[in-house]
Amino acid sequence: MEFGPRGMFSSGVLGGARIEARRRLARVLFQVGGGLALMLALGTLGLLVFNLVKGAWPAFRWSVLTTTTQGTGGGLANALLGTLWLGLLTTAIATPVGVATATWMTVWGRRHAQGILLASDILAGVPSIVFGYVGYLAFVLAVGWGFSALAAAFTLGMLVLPYVVRNVAQALQQVPYQLWESAMALGFTRIRAIWHILWPQAGPGILTGVVLASGIAMGETAPLLYTAEWSQNLPSLALTHHAVGYLTYVVWAFIQEPYPSAVALAYMAGLLLMLMVGSLALWGRLRVTVPRGRGGFSLPRR
């Protein structure tokens, strides 16, 4: 291992100034490079948001939120509610499974926890269109639900499950072990300790994790194209055989239309998505203190 720049401590008086200048240059270059890279990232974000707002401008009217899509014009109430509805259904499917999985991993899992986490992580890496393909063939055709909220929610449920598992497991790990130990010492059964201590203590973390996962679900497009399809009507409570509209569809399909009303709606849908998903993600990011190090303690942040 190399300590410090070569010659840093052994340089003679003569070389010193030159070396100092070089060090200063390297430092400035590093700062400038970092600054430029950061500007590129923030510039991208800024341009993206600016572009969305500018494009959505013609559609800025309250009725966008209250009226349904008519052809390539109208409003986005159907898509907005559809996105929320699908997000809700997906969460309703993925949360119990994810929480149970994470709880079992934490309390009983032991060696198997690693295996489950491995499967879960690999699942998180599977491209969303693969879920869409299988979801269409399995839920829409084979099971026979048709284009429907349920087919879409199950497809998305599989997709977000690994995120729920990981987020909830993280939240459960944040619970101080001493609490668990005390409960055990008091003779709690595990299920009681889970119900009265582990889950309530991890509650906010679990909530954050689930909300983050629902944000991922609401931002998806590819798995929905062939499962929820598209509808101009407000989502109905029928879970099967009724197509559902959603915001990402509007972005994808309407931006390619030659009509100004359609293009404005596409931007508007993008902006609404950005607001919803982006604020959920930012909220979650600021809430979650990423655990560092082992067990119940965190390394102080520099």
């Binding site: 309250w62 009725s63 939120l65 209250t66 009226t67 349904t68 008519q70 052809g71 390539t72 109430a77 907005l80 509610l81 929320l84 509805w85 809700l88 829409v140 055709l141 026979g144 048709g146 284009f147 399809e229 598209w230 509808s231 101009q232 009507n233 407000l234 989502p235 109905s236 409570l237 029928a238 009724h242 197509a243 399909a253 390619q256 239309e257 030659p258 009509y259 359609a262």
Partner: protein
Amino acid sequence: MQHRLKSIVTAAAATLLVAGCGSTAAKGTAASPSQAAGTGSSVTILETGSTLLYPLFQQWVPAYEAAHPNVHITPAGTGSGTGIAQALAGAVQIGASDAYMSDAQMKPGILNIPLAISAQVVAYNLPGLNQTHLNLSGPVLAGIYTGKIGYWDNPQIRAANPGVSLPHQPIIPVRRNDSSGDSFLFTQYLSKSAPSVWTAGYATSPSWPAVPNEASATGNGGMVEFLKANPYSIAYVGISYLNQLESDHLGYAALQNPASQYVLPTQDNIEAAAKAMVPTTPPDERISLIDAPGASAYPIINYEYAIVKADQPSANMASALKAFLTWAISPQGGNQAKFLDSVHFLPLPSSVVTLSQHQIDEIH
């Protein structure tokens, strides 16, 4: 369970609407999902498919729903192939298609019901020449889409367009990326009019030859958008987008018909082609109307089909579907000029209405 879900959605809707729009909230909630679920006899008909037929459905649906408040129709423009496939799979009730189904695709109890007569235009973006209607023929288009004709000033194009100064620019042939009845019509025209150049056959998703600078777009709308953004490109577009082509100042071609005349997709020329071809319509109405004889006949016209399963899951759905389709083909209903004119479709001749009605009557 059902009840709880309902109240959740209604609550979500209400919250959103209240948050979103203040005083108009009351109006908005009136249309909330609880209403649709509340009335027992309401029927939702799903339609998907042809983006050429989509603009017409957009006009039909509000008019029909206004007169039949308990029927909801959900149209979607996804491409004819999707229309056919989803109707077959039973995922939708009406699959809209510019293409009739092939023998291999056909299954017993599947109906191909013409709803109107349509046509296709070949459009392009040639800066400076978009007000000129170029003369294009099947062999030239086949040459372009096989990569054999690469530049706009190709001798074959020049020969057909005397006096037009064509630029030496590479042609970008645009095809549909989704499965499309327009691809079907276009490749059928190429197959019939240039069989020696175009050997790939015809289909909603044809086996496109490898052309290095080809491009693709999704939906008729995507084709128009692509033309707008990319000078020197050429694309085939359903006639229901003609108004849009004109307002975007894009050009479209006069196509060569079997009588070797270059004709524009005017109402008269489409009508002339329809007159010649309609009498040949068989009872199952699956027929190509491409390359009609006659000096003024426009070569690419077609029936716009509703692909419907005769056997519907419920009597309720069957009767709603029959009523809607009967209205759609009726000269007093969906085939009125006020609906068809803006998309440049022609109404079905009475002989075809009769044939279509026979098919509609098979729905049960």
